[in-house]
Assembly symmetry: C2
Homo-oligomer: 207 residues x 2
Amino acid sequence: MSQRTRLTPEQRREQLLDLGIRLFANHSLDEISIDVVAREAGISRGLLYHYFGDKMAFREAVVRRAADALVAQTAPPEAGDPVERLLASMTAYVDFVDANYEGYVSMVRGAASDPVLRAIYDEAFGALGARIFEADVDFVADTAAARLIVRGWQAMSEELVLSWKADSAGLSREELLGVLAGSLPVLLELLGPGSGSGSGSAVTRRS
Amino acid sequence: MSQRTRLTPEQRREQLLDLGIRLFANHSLDEISIDVVAREAGISRGLLYHYFGDKMAFREAVVRRAADALVAQTAPPEAGDPVERLLASMTAYVDFVDANYEGYVSMVRGAASDPVLRAIYDEAFGALGARIFEADVDFVADTAAARLIVRGWQAMSEELVLSWKADSAGLSREELLGVLAGSLPVLLELLGPGSGSGSGSAVTRRS
DNA sequence: CCATCCTATTGACACCTGTTCAATAAGCAA
DNA sequence: TTGCTTATTGAACAGGTGTCAATAGGATGG
């Protein structure tokens, strides 16, 4: 590695972030030394510090990149009724986890271990949740309790998709999506009758 | 700290595990150096290695202690119908998180960051889930899909309880328990009619 | 084609943290 | 008090993090 290759800052940064996502997906954050990242990228340790200043800052940048990709790639459609939009958004979510599994896992892993990374994670999921409901107020009343339920529902969705990827348990992708999209209305109804429109139950029917 | 105090191995081990739970609850695993643990406990670094051999082994022991406490303190009642037992078990769960918040958080944090710690976490939650349903087969058919749903429901429950502790969002403890216990039957019904008994819907009523 | 400049990149260095191990001393028994 | 067991220590080593002046790739102007 005595031959140094000079890239533009953008190229180098992209390379390092992509590498970070790949590495952080399979190993825990503190298992990966700066040496490993540098060796894998074919650069010196110093260059990593030049671009990110800090090991923590590097992890933060990697997690932020994964979070941004999640938000960008799960944009819901503008049109359609609430139920359809919810289903479309969940489909995009499942597809994202399927396609960017490594990046998603590194975001989740990071979120649990550090408050700063947790904040990035929360911001991304807050955006996901808000995006679905802010335009469709009649689907669910925007109360603190409802937001709490949505939060729990998101945690369930994440666990279900990740577990389903590991072992589908006989469920097809469509059946999984039916459970994910169908669960939110019935969960919100648990808060008490009158909080949501009755149309939500339409999703609970099986194909 | 030149004055050394000699304890029995059991006392010392207890002291260090308790301290570990307190520390790991508020800081991420790699933020806590052996020096900090040793200084906080008033002992030398070497003694920690004498008792746990390894930093990783220490973290594992701390997480295992928290997991054991969870399983022990949430034992459900022997008698009662499925719905009552589920509610009792969830009550014990909420109470545990309330009383042992630090230990619970350190278990959750650890589980996400390391496969070994994750295995301990999974084992504890697998025991929790199995305990509720293995004796009440008619409450839910024991299929792979149902187990997947239970897994997701547990993730949701965890998120709800932790978020609720941070901000109750206007929900009383009883209302939270109603959502937790009431959500499992309706979620299982999403898998398709006929999987569960209709009695589950009784829980969904509001007080 | 060559000289020059900018800056991406490096390598050596200081510091901190995990880990080992022979030496030490606290408490108990005789 | 003396001796013994072993809980406990502190110094030494290895490896990783973070710093900075020195180096060299490659584009630019002549």
